[in-house]
């Protein structure tokens, strides 16, 4: 362990990445699943180890190829990265464990090794973005994760996934290109790609306009990839038609990694150096967040397709995350980062429950699941707890982040009061769309007599996610501690 410890930042990326070509060479379905899950669990273990080191010692760095930054590429892991690494690797591992049964029904056996290779690449790409301290390196790993996610979304039996993925591909590519234009402009003006070095050298340049343009490109590009309203149009269909476990993985973490890039560049590189940029960021983000929360929740209420319903709910939840960030305060950012963690738990549990449902129900629509709770009690119980967490009922993880968000809004003066009202209204809207499903499933007329409880192999990971929702609802110390440190890092007030 001690020999490995200095290499942990590199291992976080290279364990899943280097396993991918090996898995691609395998022929056997079950073996490739096993290797993939093992690699994902290893990455999760590395993330936990890194988090422990970060909590103890603060930021960790690693020099790739032993070349010092800004000349070589450095990795750097602080509380922000650690928080999201836990989410990404954890979500991937749980989804993969559930995937053993769920995917078997959705993807032909001989294609599965390639599917798992793409999964590992997506995981490695997301981890790579989170650990690096280099703006161009973020782009490289963004390409890996995006390409791999297009493959994963298109991996299911539903041919409607293909047009959805094409839209996702076009919009994702525009997003990544905008990011690259932004980074290019910064490089032109500062001659560096290292984020920390950028921060220093932007101060020395003293002209704001090119950096404002760069900030605009990076913000719009990452908003596209993070599905920030109104650039979310690719998300509902991509989530709906993807294989179920892929939806679990992506709903829990894919958009959050783009949000991470947005927050990291905007707060650390731009806001601290380009005068007045924090106000611009707030004016830009706040109204969009409010619109996202209200409109997407309203759409979710009237949606009959269960996966699309929760995809819309994700658009609304991304609104909460950007809302917290747009308050530009320690409390607001803490709430925002905390919600990334807790929303991943709640949505992960919900989509896992939907994957359980899909084992017996061919069409995941509200009108197809009447009375299903009598036949699948464990699945629906998991769904209910996940739903409570999404609404933000005390005792669940979702409550903690809503509570912090409301506290942060209190600190924001008169606008804050309006925001609190909006948060409460939207929570009620969440009650409506969750209740509609629960009511049909528990009290509706039986629509499906063939349904049987989902196999244990998929129920167990679902209930692990449910248990985590309750655990972090009762003992929120770890995510709260990480989030508040992360907020301090982003605001430049902490280590």
């Amino acid at each position: 362990m001690s020999a490995l410890q200095p290499h942990l930042p590199a291992l976080q990326v290279i364990v899943p990445m280097l396993t991918a070509p090996l898995v691609a060479l395998l022929r056997e379905r079950q073996f490739s699943w096993l290797v993939t899950t093992a690699a994902s669990l290893c990455a999760f273990a590395v993330a936990i180890a890194l988090t422990m080191v970060v909590l103890e010692q603060g930021t960790i760095s690693y020099e790739m190829g032993s070349w010092p930054p800004p000349f070589g590429i450095a990795l750097s892991i602080d509380a922000v990265s650690a928080l999201l690494l836990l989410v990404v690797t954890g979500a991937s591992s749980l989804a993969l464990i559930a995937g053993a049964t769920s995917l078997q029904a959705q993807c032909e056996s001989d294609r599965q090794p390639l599917f798992y290779a793409a999964w590992l690449l997506a995981l490695a790409g997301l981890c790579g973005i989170l650990v690096t301290a280099d703006a161009f390196n973020i782009f490289v790993f963004m390409e890996i994760s995006s390409l791999a996610s297009y493959v994963l979304v298109a991996g299911g039996p539903d041919r409607r996934a293909l047009p959805a993925v094409f839209k996702y591909l076009v919009m994702g590519t525009i997003g990544a290109t905008f990011y690259l234009i932004g980074v290019g402009v910064i490089y032109l003006m500062t001659g560096t790609l290292n984020l920390a070095d950028m921060e220093v050298r932007i101060q020395q340049v003293g002209e704001f306009q090119p950096f404002l343009i760069a900030a605009a490109f990076i913000t719009v590009g990452m908003a596209l990839k993070a599905a920030i309203f109104p650039l979310h149009v690719w998300l509902p269909n991509a989530y709906t038609f993807a294989p179920h476990v892929v939806t679990v993985f992506f709903a829990a973490c894919a958009t959050k990694v783009s949000l991470y890039v947005l927050l990291r560049l905007d707060f650390v590189v731009f806001q601290q150096n380009v005068g007045g940029h924090d106000v611009q960021f707030a004016y830009f983000m706040l109204p969009l967040s409010v619109l996202a929360i209200l409109i997407a929740s309203a759409v979710a209420i009237f949606e009959a397709n269960l996966k699309r319903l929760f995809a819309w709910s994700s658009v609304a939840q991304i609104g909460y995350i950007t809302l917290g960030a747009s308050l530009i305060s320690q409390a607001g950012l803490t709430a925002s980062l905390l919600h990334m963690f807790n929303h991943a738990l709640a949505k992960g549990a919900l989509f896992l429950a939907l994957a359980c449902l899909a084992m017996s129900v061919a069409k995941l629509r509200v009108d197809e699941i009447g009375g299903i709770a009598r036949r699948m009690p464990w699945t629906m119980a998991a769904f209910v707890v996940g739903g409570l967490s999404l609404i933000g009922v005390p005792g669940t993880a979702g409550f903690i982040s809503k509570w912090y968000l409301i506290q942060a809004a209190f600190g924001a003066g008169s606008v804050g009061i309006a925001l609190i009202i909006i948060i409460l209204i939207s929570s009620l809207m969440a009650v409506v769309y969750i209740w509609r499903v629960v009511e049909t499933a528990y009290f509706g007329e039986a629509a499906n007599d063939e349904a049987r409880e989902a196999p244990l192999a998929i129920l167990v990971p679902t209930w692990i996610a449910v248990a985590l929702n309750i655990f972090f609802g009762l003992h929120p110390n770890l995510p709260v501690e990480l989030s508040s440190r992360a907020a301090a890092v982003l605001l430049g007030t902490g280590p």
Binding site: A10, I14, P21, M64, A148, V151, L188, G191
Partner: protein, 328 residues
């Protein structure tokens, strides 16, 4: 003089770009985008970026044109009726363009020796390459050693693309390799066109030789694994076009290609891990041999080989995946 010539080429580039957007026939658009890439390559060459120029020429003008044509042969070469939001798209593109222009207004002037990109990291690269790596091509040193982690990432981007194409259209068509290609009796490829076939066959070995030269000369002149992989793949694709896809698959069967896709990426990674096992950081080549300079050089040669193998494998797999479904 360079400026005048650059201006001329950039104007042509603009005209070609507009023509690509305007072309209603997709076949025409593909041909024009090939020309676009060639013009771009010339521009890069004028700016002394020979490595980038070579890549753009090989990949942009060569391989992607072939792949586009493959996609067209599976679908159609007519554009769907234009979308009703054309004006809105135009407005968005115009605003974006204005933003890019505004962002570059304050940029240092062309060729300014005091520009930030010239004075910050560049001197260190020039210095360290001479001392620690001792190869003439600094670009290769930056790509494969100083920023070797980015290049590893790019190899994995190519790898992901290959996996993606194989996953989506490669395997599940249900046809076995021997069923692929035109029905019995019908000559495939350009076999009944004598002159292109004869000339083409004469070219194949020379293209391949040039590819190998680019691969192994990357430390001394422009070139490296990406360009070499594209050129070698191009020579085999040319062979497939002349002699039919089946003969090309006899030379390099699918299983070998899949092995190449993974093998190249693994070779690159293995060099990185070896650095880690021998006491350095990941991708530290200095520790590979007793003499750190020799270690750097052997590391660069090995990882460039990995790049070349993966790029060749992926490009050929993508080509065959398209070819198996339609007819070139």
């Amino acid at each position: 003089m360079t400026v005048v010539f650059s201006m001329f080429l950039l104007t042509l580039l603009l005209i070609t770009a507009i023509a690509v957007v305007h072309a209603g026939n997709l076949f025409v658009a593909v041909m024009l985008s090939g020309i676009f890439s060639l013009l771009l390559a010339l521009n890069f060459f004028l700016l002394d970026a020979a490595d980038v120029a070579l890549t753009e020429a090989a990949v942009g003008a060569g391989i992607s044109t072939v792949l586009f044509l493959g996609a067209l042969s599976l679908t159609t070469d007519r554009e769907k009726s234009p979308s009703p939001h054309r004006l809105l798209s135009l407005a968005i593109v115009a605003v974006t363009t204005l933003a890019v222009i505004m962002g570059t207004l304050d940029k240092p002037s062309f060729g300014d020796p005091e520009a930030p990109v010239q004075v910050h990291v560049a001197p260190w690269y020039l210095e360290t390459t001479r001392e620690a790596i001792q190869i003439p091509n600094v670009v290769t040193a930056v790509l494969s050693s100083f920023r070797g982690y980015d290049t590893l990432g790019e190899v994995f981007v190519v790898f992901t693309a290959g996996i993606g194409v194989l996953f989506l259209i490669g395997r599940h068509s249900g046809t076995k390799p021997q069923d692929i290609g035109p029905p019995h009796g019908e000559p495939s490829g350009l076999r009944h066109y004598l002159i292109p076939r004869l000339i083409g066959r004469m070219l194949v070995p020379f293209i391949m030789l040039f590819g190998l030269y680019v691969q192994f000369h990357g430390e001394y002149g422009p070139g490296g694994g990406f360009q070499a992989g594209a050129i070698i793949a191009a020579s085999i694709i040319l062979y497939a076009l002349l002699e039919g896809e089946k003969r090309a698959l006899q030379v390099l069967p699918r299983s070998v290609l899949v092995g190449m896709i993974s093998g190249g990426a693994l070779l690159y990674s293995a060099v990185g891990v070896a650095g880690m096992l021998m006491g350095g950081n990941f991708l530290d080549y200095s520790v590979l041999l007793d003499d750190p300079v020799k270690g750097q050089q052997i590391g660069i040669i090995l990882i460039e080989a990995g790049v070349g193998i993966t790029v060749t494998g992926v490009l050929l797999s993508i080509f065959h995946a398209f070819a198996a479904r339609g007819r070139f």
